[in-house]
Structure formats: C-alpha cells, structure tokens
C-alpha cells in the first residue's frame, strides 16, 4: 500500500506546490523553446490544489482502481499537467529533459497512450466532458466513490459537445463529476469572450442544474475552498468550478505581455522566468 504525496502539517504548502509546478513547466518550455507556458502558469494553482488537496491517488500506481480520475480535455495544457504529475511523483523529474522530443512520454499534446496519469487523449477540443460523463456513469455502476475531475478551457465552450455533456451530466445526476473551467479569456483567434460570448457562464450552467462556483483561480485559498465546497455539496448534481485566471501568472513580464494563445518567449527569457518564479516563491 502506497500513499499519496504527504499532506498535513509538515508537507509543503499548496502554494509551494504551485510554485514548483510552475517551475517544472517553465523548464519544459525551455527544453523545447516553446510551449503553452502562459496557460501552464495560469492553471498551476488549480492543479496544485487538485493533486495536493482534493484528489486521491497512488503515485506509483497511476491506474489504481480507487483513484480519482483527472481528465485533461484541453490537451495543449499537457505541459501543465506533466508538471503536476512530476510534482506528484507519477513522472520522474528527469523526464523534463525529454519534453516534446521524439520517443518521449511527454508529447506536446496530451495523449492517454503516452503518459502515466494521463486519462484521455486531448488535442481535439470538446471531448473531455463527454468522456467524463461515461466514466462517471461507469464509476456509479461499480459503486465506486471515486470522482472524475475534468479540466477544460473557456474557448472549449464554443463546442456544442460541451453543452450536450453538461445537459446529460445533470440528467444523470452525476454528482461525482467536478468540472473546472479555466477562464483566461484567451483562445486561438483572440479573447474568448469576443470570439464567442459565453457569459454569464455560471448562470447558464446553474440553469442546466449544476452546482457552480466562480472564483479567482489564482487565489489558492479560494481554490481550496471551492474544491471543498464542490465535494461537500449534498445535492445529486454535477459540480463546476469556474476559475478566472491570469495567463503567465507568477512571471510578471509574461503577465504583462500582450495576451496570445501561444505566447512568445525569447530564448534568454526562460532563465528570467525561472528567476521571477524564484523571487515570488511563497515564504
């Protein structure tokens, strides 16, 4: 019997975990000279909370039957999830050097067959919540108390499949789904709210029959509280956390950079980004 990474009084804080996740991600970006690094930085606090507060899993047995499932619907966030899986001890830190290279277990876009702990193949946006519905139905069939966490982006709300899946998750009272929407307001062709208006998101999803919370996704205390409240909601309904995030969070010069879906980072800036993260390391 193995256990999840240490939690409790002597364990690193979630903020410290988020800092390390950001650092792993920036190091992977440096290896390739590119990557969806701004998204990785914005979602690190959510991933740190998921992997070091909310979820149950066994680092040395990533397909353990009793684990909570984590579905990365937005496959281009793989660099962020790899960073979390490294911090969680599911992937060795040494594999950072292989990111995006031939024969690596860490391809640029997340795929289930490649990476331990990667539950689905993303890349084509809008798939994750449908898979989550099936997994949640399956877990209930097995009388499992495991949950399905699924992360997707605000841009993915353009896909009709997301709304099909939201409707069905409520219909089947899938209270074992916790969906996290990363609202960084940036997608391939520009600000998400301008590409296709999706607000008022929380009201819409609430009207679908979900438990919905909207929080600052870069406020660790708020994220922790939201995960707790999602778990604690006694109603038989799926849960959603709408997380407003800041692209590039933790690296001031990237936070300030004109926002782009695929942010430009010059070769010398990777080291500067690491320095910035170190400067902002939680006490």
């Amino acid at each position: 019997m193995t256990t999840a990474p240490p939690r409790g009084a002597n364990a690193p804080s979630i903020a410290e975990r988020a800092y390390r996740i950001r650092r792993h991600a920036v190091r992977m970006g440096e290896v390739q000279g590119q990557g969806y690094i701004a998204q990785a930085l914005d979602i690190a606090d959510v991933l740190a909370t998921a992997y070091f507060h909310a979820m149950t899993y066994r680092p040395d047995d990533p397909s353990w039957e009793g684990r909570d499932r984590f579905l990365l619907s937005n496959g281009h966030y793989a660099i962020a999830l790899y960073a979390a899986l490294i911090e969680a001890g599911i992937i060795p830190e040494s594999e950072i050097e292989t990111y995006g290279f031939d024969d690596s277990r860490l391809p640029m876009s997340g795929m289930a067959q490649y990476t331990p702990g990667m539950e689905m193949s993303g890349g084509s946006l809008g798939l994750g919540l449908s898979i989550a519905v099936g997994m949640a139905l399956g877990l209930k069939r097995k009388n499992s108390t495991a949950r399905v966490y699924v992360l997707f982006s605000d841009g993915e709300l353009d896909e009709g499949s997301k709304w099909e899946a939201m409707m069905s998750a409520a219909h089947y009272k899938l209270d074992n789904i916790v969906a996290i929407v990363d609202v960084n307001n940036q997608q391939a062709d520009g600000p998400s709210s301008q590409v296709m208006a999706f607000e008022p998101l929380a009201d819409k999803v609430r009207a679908f029959g979900w438990h919905v919370q909207r929080i600052d996704g870069n406020d660790v205390d708020a994220v922790v509280a939201a995960f707790d409240a999602a778990k604690a909601d006694p109603q038989p309904r799926p849960k959603m956390i709408v997380a407003d995030t800041l692209m590039g969070k933790g690296v001031p010069f990237l936070e300030a950079r004109e926002k782009n879906h695929f942010i430009r980072v010059d070769p010398h800036e990777w080291a500067l980004a690491l320095q910035a993260l170190d400067a902002g390391r939680p006490a």
Binding site: S121, S130, G134, M135, S168
Partner: protein
Amino acid sequence: MTSTPTPPPGKPRLTTSAMIASIAAEGQKTRSAPFGHALVEAARTRPDIVGMTADLGKYTDLHIFRDAFPDRTYQVGMAEQLLFGAASGLAAEGFTPFATTYAVFASRRAYDFIHQTIAEENRNVKIACALPGLTSGYGPSHQAAEDLALMRAIPNMTVIDPCDAHEIEQVVPAIADHKGPVYMRLLRGQVPLVLDEYGYTFELGKAKTIRDGRDVLIVSSGLMTMRALEAAKLLAGDRVDAAVLHVPTIKPLDTRTILAEAAKGGRLVVVAENHTVVGGLGEAVASVLLQAGVHPRFRHIGLPDEFLHAGALPTLHDRYGISAAAVTSRIKAWL
C-alpha cells in the same frame, strides 16, 4: 434529378417506405430484431455489456435490450458526440458499451469522437449502426453510402458488414468477445434470413465461400451477399455458374482467402457492395489483387459517387444497380 417523374408503363408507382420498414422482399423468411435479441443473450453472461443509444433505441432494435436490462441502458438523447464520448468513458471503466444510432450520424456527425475518444485510445466500444449504405429512401441525410470508407480509414477499428439475421446473431457475441473498437452495420426490424440455409457460420476476420461456381466470382458483403445469391440463381437459369465469396469483415480484410479465390483461373471477379464505389470493399479488394500480382477481369458494383435520390428502395436499388435483377443483368453483360 435526372430520372423521369413517371414510371415506365406497366410498372406500379412506388412510394418511399417508412423509416422502420423492413428491407425484406415480400414472402422472404425473416427474423425479428436479431441484434436486440442477440445482445440480450450475450449480456446474460456478460455483466460488462451495457447498451447506449442517441434517441434511436426503437430504430436500432436496442429497445429489446432496454426492455430486458433497463438499468444497463443509457439514453443520451439526440447527441451523437456525447454518445461516443460517454461510450469511451464507460469502456475506460471496464464496461463494454454497444452504442447505437444511424450509420450516417455515427460515421459523419461523430467521426472525430469515434476517431479520438474510441479508436485512438483503443477503447472497447462496439458501434452498431442501422440504415447502412442505401437502406433508406429519405435521401442523403439518411443514406450512409460512405460509412465503410470512413470507418476502415481509422486505425484500430474493426469493420463488419453482416448479411442477414443469421449472421447478425453470431456477430454480436463475437464482437463482444473481441478486444477493441468495432463498427458494425446493422439491419433491424424484420431482417431477412438467408445464410442459415447454407450452413454458414460467422468468424471474425474470415471471408467464406457461400456457393462455388466456374464462370464468375462475386465478392460481396452485407445485404449484397443476399443479392449475389439471388443473382447466382438467376444466372444459373442462363447456364452461368456463379460463385459467391462473402466478406463480412471489411477490416481486417481476409486477403488470403480473397487472393486464393480470385486466383482460381479464368473467372470474372465482381465485387458487389452496398456502399459508394469510393473507398469500400471494391477498392480494398482491387488493391489486394494488384499488389499480389493477381489480375483477373475485374468489375465493381456499388453506389455511384453522387448524392443518391429519395424514393422507394426497390426503385433506388434498381436505379443504382444493386438489386438482384440489376446485378444479374450487369454480370451477364460483362461475361
């Protein structure tokens, strides 16, 4: 529309049949809902089997399963992307979903979901689809002329085009036992019963000679094997001896049997399929023969590369050359 609006003198003017009408000819021996009953039978010993549909339970015979196992049936509404994404999720949790809809909606509307969430992840999902090829008179919206081409282009996918009720009953337990994604064409309702008389048994991945003959080899799948057998009887009246090689598994293709049969000297080889001539059994067989250096005279019966008309199925099957009479006359003209 290029056809004349009035039928030839002496021929009754037919109307488009209801969506759930049987494709069986009048007086033909049939069996009711073979897919639904076979799935119920398989599920009795396989608790991992679950049924799913996107608002087409009645139209795919899944309602038989739903009535027997209501708590093992998932209705996802008219949402095919969700149907296959959720099927992937259930398969990830160890279940074996049989997901049903019409062939057009699976192959065209939900293609990426099948490709990515099922095939790429090699999930154990069985996709069973009614109205394959030209089995509806409702026009291209319901005519899945290209489903086999689309499905056989996906890695990991096993593709099956069964002929009749006898075969469907055997395909269901076979694909339940097969590990990996399967696309299965479905005939539903009152389904013709033909192959039982030939002592035929389905084996996944195997082509089988249903009838031998010296002059022409008809290589066929799905309901075209019924038509080929009828055509063979009609051709016999003209002293033409036709063999019928039934190829229910379109992928992986039984190339060994196809090559062995095609190489038996001197016969005209005719591939007959209820599918567009683009990308289906005909082109697959042609490729196998050419690459192996087997060069018989070769002809191809399939649906033309165009959007097909609405109308009565017998009219359309005649018009597009896949009725038994049309198959017979075309083969006679080629000999």
